[in-house]
Symmetry: C2
DNA sequence: TTCGCTGGCGCAAACGTTTGTCCTCTCCTA
DNA sequence: TAGGAGAGGACAAACGTTTGCGCCAGCGAA
């Protein structure tokens, strides 16, 4: 039963019922009695306004899209959970998409979502510097917030980690323990955040008086295979680094697997600092020192930004878009036992 | 620009444009020339049919809801990824919700989603046997598929693990290694699947000629705290079990953390068999023997069932609902090194 | 020439809301 | 008693599609 049938049933007009059921009763001076009658009947007949009809009239459906590289990555799943929770409290639903860490998939997905009349979008862009992605964001009138990986030169605000400092912090752990030959397992070297983290580690080396060029670097992607082969590249060298920093959340898996193959003990023969806290980081032998991201705070900021932009775009259409509003959060060092002095 | 403006622009009627753009051109015998003209113009002006308008007319928006206890749990995030991928190929979007392993949250969320006019729902029910949940499913006319945890006595088809066999399989690993005093870390004892797994482990003990009552049991939830205290309950006993089975995906974390606190070496002082494969299961020291679920196959089956039900419910309204169509998948044993003989 | 058929397309209803505007009472005041 | 004001609702337009039906022109057949 829809609200017009309910109206007929009650002898009221559709508008009256609509105003009551959408909570605008007193704004339109509906009498107390009427409100009660309508609410009772709505309860009894299980009537709620049809969201599609309302959506058509309002021009939006109360749904925001969330486009992440891989929901299986704990960082993104935590992010998704926090975002969904916060948006839900404003009655907004979340539509999920995985770009599978693939840039062209991401583009086509974003294209589809842009035509889907969502209220807004939250995007964790895949790492390569895609001009297509940038221009889609620029051309679209939809409120968009970027997360995890900023995309310089777009109007979309972004929320991410203070990546360069974080990279510095990671390397410093190894340097402080006395390591001088250090490996660096990168994620996707095309992504802004990966590059920043990488520069951070180089900063740290420089500050310690070590030639940043001595850093043993490898890595070109997030998949198991890629991080595995990159780890091998680093750890199978004759002059094997005594410490390694993994710049992406998945990297630690490749590093651990390779260390296991080579029967390297941690931290005696190999020290590890890993980006992204995982539920199991503190629990394995030895507990892994990690660089954690304040996921919940970041999620909250994302939602705030999105809400603000959604209001703006619905009120005055041509408000001055403050371009490049970016927020950076400090990384958290979780110091544990995977870092020791070099043998 | 919408299709009616485009129609005006071209001198065609709205219906013609609509038929072309929704791919029903030849069904309505639109001429080749017209089709081309319309498609070109649509391309040029970036016009796609507004999904809300279409949704209103069709009565649905091409969205299915996915309600999981916790998207952070690797099992559910893998499931979500696979389901989203498969549904996307039919042009259907996925709306995500977390019930936070809380039964009342689940009920209220489900209620909201039922009014949202989704095409269907996929639910991984929270473990307690909620009569409310059951009746909401019964009363609703929306196509619903249950996953991971069957809910006996509802019309909704379900997809889950052959849990009893899986429990048996897990316990057999320990028994075969010679363990006789075995611990069992349960998840939520109210859930069907937890109960089945539990019965399975008891089966195995019985078959080995061991009194199932000798099983040391604890556990009442999925949170870190709960699995931690339950692990303590099991492992701090004077007659500490030499082997333990963790029945929920999260359980292994509690068991590992407790083992670490007690400085128990694995597998020498404690053998472990854990439910649910995790990315890190093979990588830590020692690699953990797990009972894995064929997630992708399960996801595919879920989508098939949902599609079938969505067709049914849109065609003949009162087709005979085959109640209780349940599918069970065999667990996969990942045999590794966390099981040894008791000291 | 007329009839019928069919290819090609337009008309208009329907989907279910929301909301600006207008109408109708009632009551109060001068 | 007439005039005005304000409270309480009704009317109808608009949101953008989809789709059953009907209309018209042209062509072949009788």
């Amino acid at each position: 039963m829809n609200i017009s049938e309910l109206a007929k049933e009650l002898g009221f007009s559709v508008s009256t019922v609509s105003r009551v059921l959408s909570g605008n009763a007193e704004k339109y001076r509906i009498s107390r009695k009427t409100v009660e009658k309508v609410q009772e009947a709505a309860e009894a007949f299980q009537v709620t306004p049809d969201p599609i009809g309302a959506g058509l009239r309002r021009g939006k459906m109360g749904i925001v899209g969330l486009l992440v590289p891989d929901i299986t990555n704990p960082f993104f799943s935590q992010l998704a959970r926090a975002i969904e929770l916060k948006l839900r409290s404003s009655g907004v639903a979340v539509q999920l998409c995985n770009s599978a860490e693939d840039s062209s998939t991401e583009i086509s997905l974003l294209g589809k979502m842009l035509t889907r009349r969502l209220d807004g979008m939250i995007i964790a862009p895949v790492g390569t510097e895609s001009e297509a992605l940038r221009s889609m964001i620029q051309d679209s009138s939809m409120p968009i917030v970027l997360v995890d990986r900023p995309l310089p030169g777009t109007k979309a605000p972004s929320v991410s980690l203070e990546n360069r400092n974080a990279g510095r912090l990671a390397a410093q752990q190894l340097l402080a323990a006395g390591h001088t030959l250090i490996g660096c397992l990168r994620g996707a070297p095309g992504s802004e955040s990966d590059r920043e983290r990488f520069e951070g580690t180089r900063d740290a080396l420089r500050a310690a008086g070590i030639d940043p060029e001595s850093l043993v670097v490898a890595g070109s992607g997030y998949s198991r295979e890629e991080s595995l082969s990159a780890s091998a590249l680093i750890l199978r060298r004759p002059d094997r680094p005594t410490g390694i920093v993994t710049l992406s959340g998945q990297g630690i898996l490749g590093a651990l697997e390779t260390a296991r193959e080579l029967k390297l003990t941690i931290p005696d023969q190999l020290s590890i600092v890993a980006f992204d806290e995982q539920p199991w980081s503190p629990l394995i032998e030895p507990p892994i020192t990690t660089i954690a991201q304040p996921v919940d705070q970041m999620a909250n900021r994302v939602v705030e930004l999105l809400n603000r932009n959604m209001q703006k775009s619905s009120k005055d259409e041509n408000s001055d878009r403050e371009t490049n509003e970016s927020y950076f959060f400090d990384a958290l060092l979780m110091e544990r036992s995977s870092v020791g002095s070099p043998s």
